[in-house]
């Protein structure tokens, strides 16, 4: 029983870490008024960059850094389109979702001689506790990836900056009423560029943790829908850092439930089990969450001088 609970906790945390990073990225972007539906694409490119750099340099941390940068670059495209070109942000985000995974597999085939799978990285991101110490104890299954801690730090930091500092206030104001921010002499464009790029970096990091901490290589299915789940978590969490974090944890927990029930004595089809997280999410939404409203100016391009 105890070991089951420990497994549940560690799976919950492991599964939710990349989602959390990406979802916080989504929150930041939406807070400043730019809908970022392209999380999936940014995560994919991050996953590829992380695994590739991790493989060629042998350094997982360098890989993670590049994962962040690559996500940020893709986000820059989204920023240019949705801020300067006043593009429909859904359309541009969807384009990112097409370009990201396509480019990731394309590059994987380019770097790894036509294989859509990368070679495994020599060293993964470290776990917080040395594995040897735990080996023969009951806690052998309970070892948390460093990415879990990273995710938690990002959540706390984002919450603090968003709600306790003047920069956060500016970001939130930009998402609610950009014209007001503009009249006070703060550049709406700058804030939005900054937030969207940060959002891409976080999504890239999320993708990187998948290939550098959970599985140790890039595969075409490494990022298969997590970006959309992260997007769902943003809405689920009502566009708040802790809300999104809670949504990701719930999601991770239901994944853990799938694993544990699957290993149990009850004979249920694995496909039915796999539905649990999604059904559970809908039920929680109906029972507890209800009506949600995005930041007011979210999705609307800002034009200087418009009312």
């Amino acid at each position: 029983m105890l070991s089951n609970i420990l497994i549940a906790i560690s799976i919950t945390l492991m599964y939710s870490a990349p989602l959390t990073l990406a979802a916080i990225g989504g929150v930041i972007s939406e807070k400043c008024g730019v809908v970022n539906i392209g999380i999936e694409g940014m995560m994919s490119i991050g996953a590829l960059a992380g695994a590739t750099v991790g493989y060629f340099t042998g350094n997982a941390w360098l890989g993670l850094l590049c994962a962040g940068i690559s996500g940020g670059l893709l986000a820059l495209l989204h920023a240019i389109a949705s801020i300067n070109f006043r593009a429909d942000q859904t359309v541009s985000g969807l384009a990112i979702n097409l370009i990201g995974p396509g480019l990731a597999i394309f590059l994987s085939k380019y770097f790894f001689d036509g294989a859509a799978l990368s070679l495994p990285v020599p060293s993964k991101l470290p776990k917080i506790i040395n594995t040897k110490l735990l080996q023969d104890t009951k806690f052998a299954n309970f070892n948390i990836d460093i990415s879990v801690i990273l995710a938690l730090i990002i959540v706390l930091l984002t919450w603090f900056i968003m709600y306790k500092t003047k920069w956060g206030l500016r970001v939130r104001a930009t998402g609610e009423h950009p014209a007001a921010v503009d009249t006070l002499g703060v550049s709406v464009y700058k804030i939005r560029y900054f937030c969207v790029i940060i959002s891409g970096i976080l999504a890239g990091l999320g993708g990187g943790t998948v290939t550098l901490a959970i599985i140790s290589q890039f595969t075409p299915t490494a990022i298969s829908g997590q970006g959309f789940i992260a997007l769902a978590a943003v809405i689920f969490g009502k566009w708040r850092p802790f809300g999104a974090y809670f949504a990701c944890l719930l999601f991770g927990f239901s994944q853990a439930l799938v694993v544990i029930l699957g290993g149990g004595e009850i004979n249920i089809s694995s496909s039915i089990l796999a539905m649990i997280p999604y059904v559970l999410t809908i039920i929680v939404l109906i029972l507890f969450v209800g009506r949600s409203s995005a930041p007011k100016a979210s999705g609307i391009p800002y034009e200087k001088g418009s009312r």
């Binding site: 541009s92 969807l94 384009a95 097409l98 370009i99 380019y110 939404l285």
Partner: protein
């Protein structure tokens, strides 16, 4: 003259055309950088779509599901809803069509409508859940749609593997009963006399024998026109568009926005469902298989809707372009070894340019204004 050109450049057609053009430019650039010949690749793409009657027909046949899912997304867009759930609606429709097609075996006149309608209703059911939850509890449609996509995917896997339908030693179910096929002249073309006749007629042989020749595309075009009529020529369509553009104004005018949300999602689900049902009845392998990942028919529908600018008629052309490119991508990989994902990038870049090309009319208007001001002075 200058004004005429500017006026033309501002039309949606010109904008889309420019986006497609830029998309190809970027794709060529990527191919060049990674060491493939761009001109040769483009020649292959062109060839693998137009070189043989069989290719053209295949592109048309494969465009049916993306046109319909595109239409489904475009229809929802018109009333302000983002139907990211077309994927799930498509999948669940294939599942239900296959179940109906296997269980029942009536005369084709009954069987075909039965299979297709059951699939459509399944799609509509999924759509109506999204609509109901949105109008009743205010739950964002994107959220429920994403969850339902996965539920549909796992339902598909469950049915593919359950004892009643699973075909031993395969990943999928049995095929539906042949009475549910919508293939044209299917029995005749494999019969002695049919083969004999086709042998002497190369083009017909290529078109009918070598493809899953069916008439779904024609129905698909008719449905696009019907949806266009619904949106632009009926009272309901007007209400939907108003609800999409300004829900508050719609409410003030006495339009029941909540009910329209459900209505929209039902129709949208029906259309995606039709895409799934047509795939089951019209193209081999007439069954469903376990999916490890989404097959992207619904997600491709999103791209089609966006490239077409949410125009029902535009969806036909965008869908043809899309299916042509996907079809050509396979031969690109096969012939010069360039990863077929270049096509996904190409489509992504086209969609990206569709997004940013909106600036062109704005800039042109500014240019015209400035010129007018100069003239006044």
């Amino acid at each position: 003259m200058k004004h005429r050109i500017i006026k033309f450049l501002k039309t949606p057609f010109a904008c889309t055309f420019m986006a497609v053009f830029f998309g190809f430019m970027v794709a060529c650039g990527i191919l060049l950088v990674t060491g493939y010949s761009a001109s040769y690749s483009m020649a292959i793409i062109f060839n693998s779509i137009f070189a043989r009657p069989k290719f053209i027909i295949n592109v048309i046949l494969k465009s049916v599901p993306v046109i319909l899912t595109g239409l489904s997304v475009a229809f929802a867009f018109k009333s302000g809803l983002f139907n990211i759930g077309a994927e799930g609606q498509y999948i669940i429709s294939t599942v239900v069509s296959v179940i109906t097609g296997i269980i029942f075996d009536f005369h084709p006149v009954i069987q075909i409508p039965l299979v297709i309608i059951s699939g459509m209703l399944a799609g509509a059911l999924l759509g109506s859940i999204v609509g109901y939850l949105k109008s009743k509890f205010g739950i964002h449609e994107v959220l429920t749609s994403i969850m339902l996509n996965w539920i549909a995917l796992y339902t598909c896997n469950y049915v593919s593997m359950c004892e009643r339908f699973h075909k031993p030693d395969s990943d999928g179910t049995y095929m539906i009963n042949p009475s549910g096929y919508t293939l044209v002249l299917n029995n005749w073309k494999f019969s002695e006399s049919g083969r004999e006749f086709l042998k002497h007629n190369f083009i017909l042989n290529d078109i009918i024998l070598k493809t899953d020749f069916n008439l779904n595309f024609i129905f698909c075009v008719i449905i696009c026109v019907l949806v266009w009529f619904l949106i632009y020529k009926t009272k309901k369509g007007y209400e939907l568009r108003v609800s999409g553009l300004n829900p508050d104004a719609a409410r003030n005018a006495g339009i029941n926005v909540e009910r329209n949300i459900i209505f929209t999602m039902v129709i949208s689900g029906l259309l995606s469902g039709l895409a799934g049902a047509f795939t089951v009845t019209g193209t081999s392998s007439h069954n469903i298989q376990t999916l490890s990942m989404f097959e992207n028919y619904g997600f491709n529908g999103l791209s089609v809707a966006l490239i077409s600018g949410s125009s029902p008629i535009g969806c036909i052309f965008a869908g043809l372009l899309f299916s042509g490119l996907l079809y050509a991508g396979q031969s690109l990989q096969y012939k010069i070894g360039a990863p077929s994902e270049i096509i996904n990038i190409l489509i992504g870049v086209i969609v990206f340019f569709v997004a940013i090309i909106r600036i062109v009319p704005i800039l042109l208007n500014k240019y015209l204004e400035r010129e007018e001001n100069l003239n006044v002075k």
